[in-house]
């Protein structure tokens, strides 16, 4: 882990496109501002962890799936990408 010490209104750069600024410090809370390209997702670390945990739960699919009552499910809307399909 790279450790840098910054004061309020100072910032760091990550790569060429990401700037993290310290906006405000109040007690043990730090307000950070992040400038990044629109397509770069920025999220709290606990969000990443909760998604990883949900992926693990999702991977535990029961061996035998009872027939899922089709009338409770919405109808299919998109075909999966098959061979050669655009």
């Amino acid at each position: 882990m790279l450790v840098l010490t910054r004061k309020v209104e100072e910032s760091i750069m990550i790569g060429n496109d990401i700037v993290v600024s310290v906006l405000e410090i109040r007690g043990n809370q730090v307000k950070l501002g992040v400038e990044a390209p629109r397509s770069t997702a920025v999220y709290r670390s606990e969000v990443y962890k909760s998604i990883m945990e949900q992926n693990i739960r999702a991977a535990e699919v029961p061996e035998e799936l009872d027939r899922i009552s089709e009338d409770l499910l919405p109808r299919r809307s998109q075909e999966p990408p098959s061979e050669g399909e655009v």
Partner: protein
């Protein structure tokens, strides 16, 4: 045509053209890089995302638009950009389903971090819709009210 062993479907022939590459794997699991999509049942909205690296690994999935009709429209522009939709090309979007302790009627879908696949390049990614306020455990079955 390579033959993939799977726990759920037995041995499958999966042609190279059907393989979907996830360069970064799934969130938390960068090592799972190759998958194929399989139907659950004819005309079912459910699809399996079958790992080609681990035979026992398969995810049940569903298009998030089927359980939340305004899924795309309600997205923040930054999140929509993460899905790659502003490029104008079609993408195949799937939410991973969790079946809590085998209780199928309580299945939920991870709308916060769906999988997006580009059918032309056959590249997939799991994307976090960080601004969406969506849930990792959104109820799937129609008889259930939304929890979020």
């Amino acid at each position: 045509m390579p033959i993939i062993e799977t726990t759920r479907f037995g041995d499958l022939e999966v042609s190279e053209k059907r393989v979907i590459q996830f360069p970064d794997g799934l969130i938390g699991f960068p090592q799972w890089k190759a998958f194929a999509i399989l139907e659950h049942q004819e005309d079912s909205p459910l699809f399996w995302l079958q790992s080609l690296d681990l035979p026992q690994l398969a995810f049940l999935t569903i298009d998030p638009r089927l359980i939340k009709p305004d899924f795309l429209e309600a997205l923040h522009t930054g999140d929509r950009a993460c899905l790659g939709l502003e490029e104008g090309s079609t993408k195949f979007v799937l939410a991973l389903i969790t079946i809590p302790e085998g209780r199928v009627e309580e299945m939920t879908a991870n709308l916060l971090a769906p999988v997006v696949i580009d059918p032309k390049s056959r590249v997939g990614r799991q994307v976090i819709l960080a601004n969406s306020g969506l849930s990792t455990q959104h109820p799937v079955l129609r008889s259930r009210p939304s929890s979020d």
